[in-house]
Amino acid sequence: MDATFLIASAVKVLVVLGFVLLGVPLIVWMERKVIGHMQDRIGPQRVGPFGLLQTIADGIKLFFKEDIVPDGADRVVFIIAPALPVITAFLALAVIPFGDTVRVAGHDIPLQITDVNIAVLWILGTTSMGVYGIVLGGWASNSKYPLLGGLRSSAQMISYELAQGISLVSVIVMTGTLSLASIVRQQEHLWFIVPQFFAFVIYILCGIAETNRAPFDLAEAETELVAGFHTEFSSMKFALYFLAEYANMMVVSGIAISVFFGGWHGPFLPPVVWFLIKLSLFLFFYVWLRATFPRLRYDQLMAFGWKVLLPASLLNLTVTALVVGLTA
């Protein structure tokens, strides 16, 4: 615990925080532009060059909007709820490695806020706590559509967490470590997407469901539930939910990159650049899915989670364990 460690940690925390806070408007802009072009429109273009400042303008608008707490809402929970998913998303980001160890002024500094030896469990734990923000937001609004959205999301998250966890366990069985940095180091020659392709497919499907993104955005299905759990939220509270959604997309993509796509590994370019390239590709994939697939029906969603993804992940784990056990 010397001074260098503290300074390095503080700098890393600020960099990650700043990256997410600046990155989210950029992703939102990218999403609107990409979906626009996919639907044969142009997307935002008025504010700033290529409409780049559109999300900033939207953010400023949200900041100055009236902050409404509905009658009969549970005030304390209503105020706390939007902060929870943001907090848990940032907690999860703390263990994602975005680059190899670098040497600065004679000190080895890993490009990762902290490398805990139970990183994978930590991430699963924080994401499972993120549900509370949505469930409580839906409940505290004291309104039927948000309540339905919250209920749906709690059931959905519990169901998809299982398959997500088990798909990650298959990789852990191969690597024998729960630390993300060690998992990335073992992928120097072969990305785990190759031996664990099915685990990756299961993981990313569950990840999309966990972040409540299309086609699994049942918690905010606007055609049935107005706007789902955040119907009653306005101003900065709504902005926090918005921020949390995109920060969580970064978390899911970051884990997918670290566990399946070799993390910072890549030829020629510096490691951090490789991580950013992979991250942007994943975020593009998210947007692409949203523009392509219609939303699932709720019973289809639950059936898919319990009857397809969970057995598939268990089967994948069994096969992995057999192969690892027989070749060891």
């Binding site: 139970i118 409940w139 729960l178």
Partner: protein, 170 residues
Amino acid sequence: MLEPVLFALFSVSAVVFAFNVVFRRNAVHCALHLVGVLLSLSGMFVLLNAQFIAAIQILIYAGAIMVLFLFVVMLLNVKGEAPLLTPGAWKGFGFFFALIVFVELLYTVLSQGGTEGTPAAAVPLPPGFGSPAEIGRILYSTWLFPFEVTSILLLIAVIGAVVLAKRKFA
């Protein structure tokens, strides 16, 4: 000397949250305070070198079991029961009985009776204490049979829950 400070913080928050679990009127608030207790205890587990248990505590207890609780509380939407506590003599009996149990526990903790055979100072830890790998090694060797029994218990619970929830009542 960080440990005593953290211990004080976690223990005070755990006890305060626990009081709120029992004496709040709104069931959702009770559930949230229980989550607070669970998180405080998870912090204490880290202080006690039980990292894996701490992570599992958040992942399973706070993240899954309590969400299930909240789900049912919200689904049933139980309106605030008129009197909070059991009426009359039973309430007095409840508090009295709890007091007796507490005094008893206190006696056991403070006298050496409850810590018979316990070393006064903590034993130096073997390497890997509380790590997932060590937990797994013990769980699948010494405790293999109880582990298998637990899996059957969980299976029975799943079937029981489905049967209960599916049954049609007249």
